[in-house]
């Protein structure tokens, strides 16, 4: 157990100091000054360093081992990308600077947008959204502007039952009504159901491609056809783009709006929960609604333009998470077109390799081949009193990270596994071996799974207490 910074604080200790003030002023009374101490800790630099080193040691991370989390695409974060993003020429820019002083930054944004267009087949991109969910919100706002412009009042957004929770949440934030449509027995969108559900009231069909089961919608052409025939739009959640690079271009198959996750497909680090970036791409008929400003180019000079009269406005105070763009663009320039195609090929290969082996030990509801991820079920272990949670907690004892559990909702005791293309075969073999061992343990010594994890910095945590009586802030007395 680590003490908090408040518990380690001692009065009078100082850490970082700014230079002496060379501009003293005699005291000016500001109306409403703070009369109380702030309550920040007081520690010396060495103890602060040790504090964070101590915390760091308790974290699993991609540089330590595999993260087979479905739909998270936890691939290797290239070191050179971290380095270049820290160049002062990028990090030291203030967003209000003159265009002539930020030509490199504007060029980078412009080129990244064009690269994403080429990769996805969409006509234009905005890089403003700061995360995938933010991109979804932006996408729905674009749809809203599109229909408003045409004088159409459409309120419904159709979402498959396998969708990520951000999908319906984004829809509601935007004032639309989400409607769930059930998947068929193959885990895909049911064409007959879709025919019935899409009406003149439907604004958007929101789908993930491949879907959260790692399956490609075989009937996507018909699906798009049905939606378009009713004057509605197709939104693609691009979280699973790692399966499609160089194989399918969403823009080519009729997708109207989509988002990408730079912190997934494009290797920017996850940061323990961000920052990410969720660029949104659109087909030509939606480009005029994109957020402003847009980067434009003329004769080799870059500028910001707010000319688009029908733009939805701003979803971000500036141009988006610029520092993240630097890393994503570095990744694209390192890989090139061929390299990107290889990403998806290897991602699909790795997933099918694991699937072929693990389906012998765990339940598989939807038969393969899969794309870059697949969903197993641990329900075959239910008879030993074991649930998916127990399996993944036991994985932690073996020094591996768990896959995603209990998602998608349509698979009982779901284990969603995405082994990413940067993992070597030996890592995959080891991961499979451990999962097989755990299945055996489930039968022969289930208590090991129930007790798990036993080798981690803390053991299973009481989430009920945390939810009933949350302790969200270190109290002043404790510190």
């Amino acid at each position: 157990m680590s003490k908090t910074i408040f518990e380690k604080s001692r009065p009078g200790r100082r850490g970082y100091r700014i230079p002496e003030n060379d501009c003293p002023v005699e005291t000016i009374e500001l109306a409403g000054m703070r009369r109380t101490p702030i309550g920040l800790p007081e520690m010396g630099e060495q103890d602060i360093v040790r504090h964070y080193i101590e915390l760091a040691a308790k974290n699993y991370h991609v540089d330590k081992g595999i993260y087979p989390l479905g739909s998270c695409t936890m691939k290797y974060n290239p070191l050179v990308n971290e380095e270049v993003s820290r160049l002062e020429g990028f990090a030291g820019l203030h967003p209000a600077q003159d265009e002539e002083d930020v030509q490199g930054a504007l060029e980078l944004i412009y080129r990244l947008e064009r690269a994403l267009c080429e990769i996805s087949g969409m006509a234009a991109f905005t890089l403003q959204p700061a995360a995938g969910a933010h991109g979804e919100l932006t996408g729905i706002m674009l749809a809203r502007a599109y229909f408003a412009d045409r004088g159409e009042r459409r309120k419904i957004v159709l979402i498959p039952d396998s969708a990520h929770g951000t999908n319906p949440a984004s829809v509601t934030i935007c004032g639309f009504t989400p409607k769930t449509i059930p998947s068929n027995e193959r885990g895909l969108i049911d064409l007959a159901v879709l025919e019935k559900e899409v009406t003149a009231e439907t604004a958007v069909l929101m789908l993930t491609l491949p879907n959260t089961l790692g399956l490609f919608e075989r009937d996507i052409a018909e699906i798009v056809g049905i939606v378009h025939a009713n004057g509605a739009l197709v939104y693609m959640d691009g979280a699973n783009m790692n399966a499609l690079l160089g194989i399918v271009r969403p823009g080519d198959i009729g997708i109207d709006i989509m988002h990408l996750n730079l912190h997934k497909t494009f290797s920017t680090p996850h940061g323990g929960g961000g920052p990410g970036s969720g660029p949104v791409g659109v087909a030509t008929h939606l480009a005029e609604f994109l957020p402003v400003p847009r980067v434009v180019e003329a004769g080799g000079t870059y500028a910001l333009s707010c000319a688009a009269r029908k733009s939805i406005g701003r979803v971000h105070p500036y141009l988006g998470n610029f520092n993240v763009f630097v890393k994503a663009y570095a990744y694209i320039r390192a890989l090139g077109g061929e390299g990107l195609r290889e990403v998806s090929e290897n991602a699909i290969l790795n997933a099918n390799y694991l699937l072929a082996r693990l389906k012998k030990t765990y339940d598989l509801k939807y038969p393969g081949p899969c794309m870059h991820e697949f969903v197993l079920s641990a329900r075959n272990l239910k008879k030993f009193g074991i649930r998916a949670t127990d399996v993944v907690k036991r994985l932690l004892d073996y020094g591996l990270h768990a896959p995603t559990v209990y998602f998608p909702l349509i698979v009982e005791e779901a284990l969603m596994i995405e082994p990413v293309e940067t993992e070597s075969r030996e890592t995959l073999d080891h991961f499979a071996e451990v999962l097989e061992t755990i299945a055996e343990e489930a039968e022969k010594s289930p208590e090991k799974l129930h007790e798990a994890p036993m080798n981690t910095p803390v053991r299973r945590l009481d989430e009920a207490v945390a939810a009933r009586c949350p302790d969200l802030c270190c109290s002043e007395e404790a510190g």
Partner: protein, 451 residues
């Protein structure tokens, strides 16, 4: 350059293990006619050295504010950042880790964010804070949605003296919902017109937004506004500069219901405006309405203290369409930066940053009041930024200033026509020196002299 480790030999064996003779068989579920034809038209791939060169060149095409004497503010500030911040956030254990859903192997992140939440509570004087939003503008938008959810009512009062970019984001978010923003004008002194606010408050008002300091850098009458809001049953949303809270009464002290703001000043480089850090805090009573992640202390099965994500039933992955927000990935590493910054500077250090920003901005202000042709319309009740009216168009002055290595400020005339094209927003942080401040005055004097 690729980061794929498996070789053709590996792949051959893997295909055999799967039981297919070629990779193409795995693409069977994708109809042929939908597949991409041909190759991407992208630039030739680069080896690591090539990437480094390319980006060095791109960066060299920029002239970063941090390398000049910059007086640019308006929400993003040039501040000292301790080496410790970069050291901690460059550790793989923090930046390459995932969201802490598996708490047992994420205690580092979880405790660091718990500490961040606590530090935000200290700074703002509020009861609970979340683990971050994207930035101050979207945090304010979410605060408005939260207030509207608590209080009901379709109207929110917003000050004119609010960052135009923040206002744009607000307008965009609220256009999608039936919530109307009513703009409250400033008085001649540049602060809120409390009488106008009083007459605008009705039972339909869900909330009043306070910007503290406001966009012109001025300190608003927060206590009076808070009482006004309460008397009319409206919630108070305070949108604050975090460093200013070391010097000025924080939102908790004047009874704000929700506090939000831009945390870039807390150890995050200017980064051309992203990533940023939206902080959001509220009273205990409203904790279940708060969007975003929340980390709680708890115990494990052995009774050892640990940390875990909690109240997840508010969030999208469980509540789905009824969630308090759709936010998933937030600004985790930026929150960590802020926690390290606040810990590293500590109680005294943060106070000094605030005091020096205050002292230096007032030093420049006073020099300019004695400089011919300058008009300082709004008085001295400001924190670190003020409005300067030059004797010539702001843009012309800025050109001269830049030629002298100074970024003079943000022109205000376009977004605030009532101030005119000679008006400039000038920010002076703790990073500016006496020489830079005097040089600024000299440049203004050089231009304004002889009248």
């Amino acid at each position: 350059m690729s980061y794929i480790q498996n070789t053709d030999a590996d792949r051959k064996e893997m295909l055999a293990a799967i039981g297919v003779s070629s990779f193409d068989e795995l693409l069977e579920p994708i109809p042929e006619e939908l597949r991409m034809k041909g190759a991407f038209e992208l630039e030739t791939p680069l080896a690591e050295g090539g990437v480094a060169e390319l980006f060095k060149d791109l960066a060299a095409k920029n002239r970063p504010a941090s390398a000049l004497a910059t007086f640019l503010g308006g929400g993003i500030y040039d501040r000292f950042i301790p080496a410790l911040v970069r050291y901690v956030t460059s550790r793989s254990e923090f930046y390459t880790s995932y969201t802490p859903y598996q708490a047992e192997v994420s205690q580092g992140t979880l405790q660091a964010i718990y500490e961040y939440q606590s530090l935000i509570c200290r700074i703002t004087g509020m009861d609970v804070a979340n683990a971050s939003m994207y930035d101050g503008a979207t945090a304010l938008a979410e605060a408005v949605l939260m207030a509207s959810g608590i209080k009901g009512g379709g109207k929110v009062l917003v000050p004119r003296a609010l960052s135009p970019r923040v206002r744009s984001v607000l307008d965009c978010y609220l256009a999608a919902r039936a919530i109307a923003l009513e703009e409250m004008p400033c008085t001649g002194q540049g602060t809120l017109d409390l009488d106008r606010i009083e007459s605008a408050l009705t039972e339909k008002t869900a909330a009043v937004i306070l910007a503290q300091p406001n966009y012109f850098g001025l300190i608003e009458p927060s206590q009076e506004l808070s009482e006004l809001a309460r008397r009319h049953g409206a919630l108070l949303i305070a949108c604050v500069d975090p460093i200013s809270c070391a010097l000025c009464a924080p939102p908790g002290e004047y009874g704000a219901d929700i506090a939000v703001g831009e945390g870039q000043s807390l150890g995050i480089p200017q980064s051309y405006g992203g990533p940023l850090l939206g902080f959001m805090a509220t009273k205990s009573a409203y904790v279940r309405r708060l969007p975003g992640r929340l980390i709680s202390g708890t115990v494990d099965v052995d009774g050892a203290r640990g940390y875990v994500m909690t109240l997840q039933t508010r969030e999208q992955h469980i509540r789905r369409e009824k969630a308090t927000s759709n936010i998933c990935t937030n600004e985790g590493l930026c929150a960590l930066s802020a926690a390290v910054y606040l810990t590293s500077l500590g109680e005294q250090g943060v106070r000094e940053v605030a005091e020096q920003s205050f002292a230096k901005s007032h030093t420049l202000y006073r020099l300019l009041t004695r400089t011919k042709g300058c008009r300082l319309p709004y008085g001295e009740q400001f924190f670190q930024e003020f409005v300067l009216e030059l004797p010539m168009p702001a843009r012309a002055f800025l050109k001269t200033a830049k030629a002298n290595g100074i970024l003079g400020g943000i022109p205000l005339g376009e977004q605030f026509p009532e101030l005119g094209e000679n008006a400039l927003l000038v920010a002076v942080t703790e990073k500016r020196t006496k020489q830079e401040i005097e040089r600024y005055r000299d440049i203004v004097a050089g231009k304004g002299g002889g009248r």
